[in-house]
């Protein structure tokens, strides 16, 4: 049996390692062949970008060689897929190689796109890209005060980030002794300040304590570059000296170009994680069209379900597990404190008061991640 993994980010790596370990003997005996195709030989721990943007981690802390994270049985090629021929169980790569498969797992992620909001690329800072995080830190370090606006595009990965970024901005300016010179303004696309009601309820008094001004129903339309004003679809506007954005995202172009899913989002069954209409294709992580959080933890929990099911299908002919929609997020607050949120399709998260120990746990996880990617944690 040939199992092909497309994408070597968080989801692809965790699930491929999971399958390679479960089917280690079959791989050794040559009964199973595991191949991974990715677009880069490096593995970036994207959540670390938030810390880079605030000067708390360096870029070298958040990257590893992809091959150092993979189980020995996995054949790895840096050769991105350009064509998916699902009817023939084949993909064709940029290098012109055709790989056929019995089972395909797609985890190509998503990317920030700026073309939907004119003026945003030229005016904003973001922790969402590698170049952006480095530039944002330089900008923050040199900032002496003024109007800071946080603006949020839809959809985006890491839904907790808008609130975390705002808390971290408050803390950053406070520690530099210029908080009184900063007017911090937060905006959010829907009726409350976060889509999860319990998080919104918890964060409102935190914002009030930190003197963060907030506006809801604010969807970016365009940025007036010259006058430094963001206009919203709802007809309101925000002036800024420093604009920090969570940019809108789309799935990778290759997905849309191959008609796998509009916007790059692949139609996926919310329980089996199979691509709709394709029994031998699994989808996980940010590229699925599921109406759930695009986070590494989502991809991690989905990996466990897909890994177990692929091994079980190989051994018994049928899948054993369903994905229950589980997501787990740490939420960084200010003053070196953090809290967390855990939820699934049925149960909403309960938010507890932030503590220093939860922050330490997150800081530790930033290091443990590499074990998690290997599938050891």
């Amino acid at each position: 049996m040939k199992i092909l993994f497309v994408g070597g980010g968080m989801g692809g790596t965790i699930v491929a390692n999971n399958v390679a370990r479960r089917l280690a003997r079959e791989v050794r005996e040559g009964k199973v062949q595991i191949t991974m195709l990715s677009a880069t030989d490096q593995h970036w721990y994207q959540p670390g970008l938030l810390y880079v943007a605030f000067g708390k981690m360096g870029m070298n802390d958040i990257v590893r060689e992809q091959t150092s994270l993979l189980e020995p049985g996995i054949q790895f090629f840096v050769d991105p897929v350009e064509e998916f021929e699902l009817a023939q169980n084949k993909v064709r790569t940029k290098g012109g190689v055709v790989h056929d498969y019995d089972m395909l797992v797609i985890a190509t992620g998503c990317e920030a796109v700026y073309d939907e909001v004119p003026g945003l690329a030229e005016t904003s800072e973001t922790p969402y890209t590698r170049e952006g995080a480095v530039r944002m830190f330089k900008r923050l370090r040199d900032f002496e005060g003024g109007k800071v606006a946080v603006v949020v595009g839809v959809p985006h990965k890491c839904p907790i980030a808008p609130i975390e970024i705002t808390f971290m901005l408050h803390e950053f300016f406070e520690k530099r002794g210029i908080r009184d010179k900063v007017e911090l303004k937060y905006t959010y696309p829907i009726a409350r300040i976060h889509n999860i009601e319990n998080i919104a309820t918890w964060a409102v008094p935190e914002f009030e304590r930190m003197e963060v001004d907030y506006e809801t129903f604010f969807n970016m339309k365009e940025v007036d570059v010259e006058n430094k004003i963001v206009h919203s679809e709802e007809g309101t506007e925000k002036e800024f000296d420093l604009l920090v954005t969570v940019p809108p995202h789309r799935g990778m172009k290759v997905i849309e170009e191959n008609n796998l899913g509009e916007g790059g989002w692949i139609p996926t069954d919310r329980y089996s994680l199979q691509m709709e209409g394709h029994e031998n294709v699994y989808v996980l992580g940010d590229t699925s069209n599921l109406p759930i959080s695009k986070t590494g933890s989502t991809a991690h929990f989905q990996s466990e379900v897909i890994g177990e099911n692929i091994a079980s299908i190989f051994r018994t002919g049928s899948a054993t597990r369903e994905y229950d929609g589980k997501v787990y997020c740490f939420i960084e607050a200010d003053q070196d404190r953090a809290t967390n949120a855990c939820f699934n399709y049925i149960d909403p998260p309960e938010i507890k008061a932030p503590t220093k120990s939860m922050h330490m746990l997150k800081m530790s996880y930033n290091q443990w991640y590499w074990s998690s990617a290997r599938g050891l944690l």
Binding site: E116, V154, P155, P159, P189, I190, A191, N195, I196, E197, F217, N219, E233, E234, G235, P248, E262, G263, P291, I292, S293, G325, V327, F343, Y345, I346, P348, P349
Partner: protein, 76 residues
């Protein structure tokens, strides 16, 4: 007439029904209709509120067997 797309946001907390609808609206063509399915009672208010603010059209809004069916049309 353009097709009606179904946006199934039942039983999900994050990003939630309205965020899902906003994403779909951005990709839709003017004239497209979308039917949002939501099990969150808040949607019955915040979706029409957003539609009115942005200037799209609310076609219908009804609860059938615990699921809100909210049909909206992109008009600009």
């Amino acid at each position: 007439m353009s097709e009606t797309k179904v946006v199934d946001a039942r039983n999900t907390f994050c990003p939630g029904p309205l965020m899902e609808l906003i994403s779909f609206m951005k990709r839709a063509d003017v004239g497209d209709q979308m039917e949002l399915l939501s099990t969150d009672d808040g949607s019955a208010n915040d979706v029409p509120q957003w539609i009115a603010k942005v200037g799209h059209e609310l076609v219908s809004n009804e609860k059938i067997d615990d699921v809100w069916h909210i049909v909206v049309k992109k008009v600009k």
